[in-house]
């Protein structure tokens, strides 16, 4: 009998816990007394070594204990998806109507406009202006992103989500990088023909590299396509000298082009994709710029300058370059990350010993195509934007609770709230409130210091998980990274500067993508799925010269344009144009 009772109790507990785990419940209804209670779904929490639930975050606890929003304190319960099932979890919550009061929309496969039309999200258009003065002021101070907060519903601009926005665009996370040591060792001054001088002033200090490299364009860095081609000749010499038989000069992404621009933007701007030129949306798939890009790539392939197997470094999910050969020191130029610049790839073997890698700007074409494709600055490339995660406030929140949460987010856009969110507790706050986590991690006080010039130094660098755990990194609000000391060495600084050389003005902004109507989005998805398949099959063969299109032949080019438009590239541009017009209205 006792066993039966225990079994029944255990089964009951299991059933209750299963029900409890299945959704966010009705926490919005529990607000009472002096506290607004609300639930907030985020896709990812911190490692359990820091805390079990995100509501244990020290900054959140400090804010909940010390501030009032809409006349009361707030108590936010965070719900997190199981790792690896973030999107499933989001969809399940929506499908079962068990969603939280506040939903992080980064995992949503449904647009905010559609969620609003289905009655999941609230319209915040009027409320945010009234209750979020700091958010509004921030948007006014950042006109380049002020349009990004809108969704278009039945031709009308609406605010359906609140955004985390950065004060400044974050540094590029990757860009072109090249073997500076090869250029210095095997190149000669293009004007005088004299060999360059180079080397480490202090052999034990990889940062002490100096050289007097000059490129054909006259500067100390490659700026034009002709500079790149000059470098490629030098890389060929280097590989011949080192007996590298399976190396090459440039490793492109496997599809042979980037929809976001990057190298395809060198040939007159824009991208081999849909891009924006002023108030016009352009079908870049069939632009003359794309033709010039493909002519260049085909020429490089024929000369053996690019990875002969570039189209094989592939998977469905990720773009990829040939990292194996990069790490072996057999590639001259590739698209890489800060972790590869300077002397970091030195494995003390024949090909990487003494390696020095520099960042390079996206080159300006001065060789291929007509005048329209030459001497124009690139204006589209893959880069993070100021816009971060967005959250939707669901219809489960009462108006009073909605206002309370909006005031909470607005607080994170103030100077004080921004410091708390981005840098954590200062000494005064720590002394008054304390934090077990800060003690456990050995911070024992303020998480940051500020120099006289305003530079902020945090205890943990931004690449460490601790830096997110001790701040309010998972919650939306202003991202302030302007004054943060990121701990870059001189090589990373040089690379980041080179990668940020040009304005990313032609990229298809997320505001335009968000403004596409639900019906048009469905059509766009169909067109894009078919077009992607066609281009993924075709572009590599154009570059390798194994397909039926020769980009130097006008008739072939016209046929390519015709075939590509059959898949609706121009229709896609039309749908985005409609969205851009709505935004500009």
């Amino acid at each position: 009998m006792k066993k039966k009772v225990v079994s029944l109790l255990m089964a009951g507990a299991l059933a209750v816990s299963a029900l409890g785990l299945s959704g966010c419940g009705e926490s919005g209804d529990e607000s009472s007394g002096d506290t607004w209670k609300m639930s907030y779904w985020i896709p990812k929490a911190e490692d359990a070594k820091f805390y079990d639930e995100y509501e244990d975050n020290p900054v959140l606890q400090y804010i909940e204990a010390n501030y009032e929003f809409n006349g009361k304190k707030i108590d936010v319960d965070f719900f997190t998806a199981p790792p690896g099932s973030e999107q499933d979890d989001f969809n399940t919550l929506l499908g079962t109507e068990e969603y939280c009061d506040i939903m992080d929309l980064s995992m949503s496969t449904t647009s905010a406009a559609e969620l609003y039309q289905k009655g999941v999200l609230q319209d915040l258009t009027d409320l945010y202006k009234e209750h979020m003065p700091n958010y509004v002021a921030f948007l006014e101070a950042n006109p380049d992103v002020s349009d990004e907060i809108y969704s278009i519903v039945d031709g009308e601009k609406k605010v359906l989500a609140l955004f985390g926005i950065a004060k400044e665009q974050d540094d590029p996370f990757e860009g072109f990088i090249y073997r500076r040591d090869w250029v210095a060792k095997y190149g000669k001054n293009p004007e005088t023909g004299v060999a360059f001088t180079y080397g480490f002033a202090d052999e034990s200090d990889p940062e002490s590299w100096e050289d007097d490299v000059v490129f054909p364009s006259g500067g100390d860095e490659p700026v034009y396509i002709s500079d790149w081609e000059w470098m490629f000749d030098i890389f060929d010499k280097a590989m011949a000298d080192l007996n590298i038989t399976d190396g090459y000069c440039y490793s492109p992404y496997y599809l042979g082009y980037m929809e976001t621009g990057d190298l395809t933007s060198s040939f007159g701007g824009g991208a081999t994709g849909i891009y924006i030129d002023g108030d016009t949306v352009v079908d870049g798939y069939t632009s003359d710029n794309t033709r010039a890009y493909l002519q260049c790539m085909n020429n490089w392939y024929q000369k053996g300058w690019i990875d002969p197997n570039f189209s094989e470094h592939t998977s469905d999910m990720f773009f990829s370059v040939d990292m194996e050969k990069v790490y072996q020191g057999k590639v001259g130029l590739w698209q890489g990350r800060p972790s590869a610049v300077g002397n970091q790839l030195d494995s003390e073997d024949d090909y990487t010993s003494g390696i020095v890698v520099y960042g390079a700007k996206i080159p300006i074409n001065d060789v291929y195509g007509g005048d329209a494709q030459k001497n124009k600055e690139p204006n589209a490339y893959m880069r993070t934007t100021k816009m971060g995660t967005s959250v939707g406030l669901t219809t489960k929140l009462s108006e009073e609770e909605t206002i309370a949460f909006m005031e909470f987010v607005d607080f994170l856009y103030t100077e004080e709230g921004g410091m708390l969110k981005n840098y954590g507790l200062n000494q005064e706050q720590y002394d008054a409130f304390g934090s077990e986590l800060y003690d456990q991690l050995g911070i024992n006080g303020s998480n940051y210091t500020v120099d006289a010039d305003g530079t902020v130094h945090t205890v943990f660098s931004s690449d460490k998980p601790e830096s997110i755990a001790v701040t309010l990194g998972r919650c939306i609000g202003m991202t302030d990274n302007v004054d943060l000391d990121k701990g870059y060495d001189r090589f990373v600084l040089q690379a980041v500067e080179a990668w940020s050389a040009y304005e990313n003005s032609a990229a298809l902004r997320s505001s335009v993508q968000n403004a596409v109507s639900t019906e048009n989005q469905k059509e766009l998805d169909k067109l894009k799925a078919n077009l992607d398949q066609y281009l993924a099959r075709t572009i590599p063969t154009i570059i390798m010269g194994t397909g039926s299109y020769n980009m130097n032949d006008d008739a072939d080019w016209e046929q390519f344009v015709k075939d590509t438009r059959k898949y609706g590239s121009d229709k896609m541009a039309g749908y985005y144009q409609e969205a851009l017009d709505l935004l500009n209205r």
Binding site: N91, L94, G95, T109, T110, S111, E114, L115, K118, G119, V120, Y254, L255, N309, S311, E312, T314, S315, D316, Q513, Q521, K522, L524, D525, K526, K528, A529, N530, D532, Q533, Y534, A536, R537, P540, T541, Y567
Partner: protein, 315 residues
């Protein structure tokens, strides 16, 4: 000639109460299976409706707008459908031929192997690939078949140029590679049922055949194979029914854009078509339904053919 009496007619009919009393424990054991079948195989069939809807997560199966056959039209008119269908059929045929019989051959070799310890060792080794994840298996295959891979080097000894065989867009290279990877993965595990069945063949039959002068090969062809033929037919029929579901499971890990023409199968094609910036659940359900219907038709046809050929059938 007197009509054969059905065996069932000799069985004494019992009431359900009596049956329950006699076999109650068996029914109790069956309950979890029944629940599992209902929960995971019958209840989700409601989802088939999604194939005819513009399915929206927020509106659910019963609230999403009805679009009739539009998802099927989108599926069949997609740029890569014809090639994906051709490749699926080709790989299915290869899986049912080149991929099916090695398991039987392996089982026969294994059961005739004289050394018991070595036999067990081989058997154990053959099971291993089944327990290694598909990602690891495909990564190994990718390495072995790369330009400098071990298999490529071996093949080069016989003349063909060293190359990444998985990037070769010529028919039927990818199809054969895919099938052989399947054999490598499943042969050992699949042999368990055959080995068990072969071991259960009456030893007296073998003795009699041996006394009549049959050699080992003749005993296999005249005793073992006929004895396990109903099992082979049953397994083949089941494999036919499942072939559209199983073909392509590894393709996603092995193909690349330049081999889409020969490697793309219905499942990978559907994956790319369905999951753009917004997920198209209707289209993916339509594709799944299409493959299931095809599988069912094939199952019924093959079952009939099997019955005609050997008298053995699933139903």
């Amino acid at each position: 000639m007197a009509k054969k009496k059905n065996v069932a007619s000799y069985v004494k009919k019992t009431s359900w109460k009596e049956d329950m009393r006699k076999n109650g424990i068996l029914y109790v054991i069956f309950v979890p299976v029944l629940v599992w079948l209902i929960c995971f195989h019958y209840a989700p069939m409601f989802g088939i409706l999604m194939a005819f809807e513009d399915y929206s997560i927020t509106q659910g199966v019963f609230g999403s707008p009805w679009v009739g056959m539009q998802n099927f039209v989108d599926l069949f008119t997609g740029t890569g459908f014809a090639l994906a269908f051709r490749n699926t059929v080709a790989m299915a045929i290869l899986s049912l031929t080149l991929g099916f019989f090695p398991t039987i051959l392996f089982s026969l070799v294994l059961t005739t192997f004289p050394h018991k310890r070595m036999r067990r060792g081989f058997q154990l080794l053959s099971y291993l690939p089944n327990f290694v994840s598909a990602v690891v298996m495909c990564s190994l295959a990718t390495e072995f078949l790369s330009e400098r891979g071990a298999i490529t080097q071996f093949i080069s000894l016989f003349g063909p140029e060293a190359q990444n065989w998985l990037a070769n867009p010529n028919i039927p290279i990818f199809w054969v590679i895919y099938t052989l990877i399947g054999v490598w993965q499943g042969m050992g595990w699949g042999s368990i049922i055959y080995v068990t069945s072969i071991n259960n063949v009456n030893g007296e039959l073998h003795e009699a055949a041996a006394l009549d002068g049959a050699n080992r090969f003749q005993r296999i062809t005249h005793v073992t194979l006929p004895a396990v033929m109903p099992l082979i037919i049953m397994m083949w029929t089941m494999a036919i029914g499942m072939v559209f579901k199983t073909v392509g499971t590894n393709v996603l890990l092995l193909y690349m854009p330049i081999t889409y023409d020969v490697a793309d199968v219905l499942s990978t094609y559907t994956y790319r078509m369905s999951f753009g910036s917004t997920a198209n659940y209707g289209l993916s359900t339509a594709s799944g339904l299409f493959q299931s219907v095809l599988g069912m038709i094939l199952l019924i046809v093959s079952n009939k053919l099997g019955k005609k050929a050997s008298g053995a059938s699933l139903f």
